[in-house]
Symmetry: C2
């Protein structure tokens, strides 16, 4: 399977697949003409990566997850710890966004939103 097939099979853009090879997440073989050749195991890994990325894991976390995935003597505790740390980061981000959301929602609700210049949003940004 060449790169466009791998892209179709995994849902990842070809550019992204090349990038993942460049940073050493996958090592597809090459055919005589220099084209990448993706085996089933490469497709599996790419799919794995796509799902892990969709769950918000960083590339470095993905690298670790992939290593655990391939290590048949892994401890599930190691996977769980990674996932829990990531969950904590997600929770942090959500909390931060909710803070912004609450503040901004309040300001927006107070703003007349008409042709006049007076604006509580700008006032708040200017004066705290």
């Amino acid at each position: 399977m060449n790169i466009s097939g791998a892209a179709r099979a995994t849902g990842l853009p070809a550019k992204t697949i090349r990038y993942y090879e460049e940073i050493g997440l996958i090592r597809p073989q090459r055919t005589a003409n220099g084209y990448r050749h993706f085996r089933d195991s490469d497709i599996h890994k790419l799919t794995f990566l796509g799902r892990a990325r969709a769950l918000g894991f960083s590339i470095e976390d993905c690298r670790r997850l992939l290593a655990l995935y391939e290590d048949k003597a892994r401890a599930s505790a190691d996977v769980k710890r990674l996932a829990e740390e990531h969950l904590a980061q997600i929770a942090d981000k959500i909390a931060q966004l909710r803070g912004m959301q609450a503040t901004l929602r309040e300001l927006v609700d107070q703003c007349a939103g008409d042709h006049r210049p007076d604006c509580p949003i700008l006032r708040d940004l200017a004066n705290g």
Copy 2:
């Protein structure tokens, strides 16, 4: 006031202040020796920028907000629209994070987290 004073006054790192000048958000004067000189209006703008960034507005949004802030003939509707669009983006991000959170939480809860290799998290990543 020189750059370290401006940094203290606004809570922004000096590096960030230089960057904001580089991209044209502020235009501090220069003294004879080439040092930046920050007037009160510059400090106000930097403070404004710091608050807008803290609410998650992009740099380009900040540029627009600053322009509206300085335009005494603005319509508050323009500010409100910007803020509402940003609110929508925040809501999108939160929804996306919550999706990840729900999925990952479920997987983590199913994982024994012990010394054995069997792991629902990896299974899910591998097989959907």
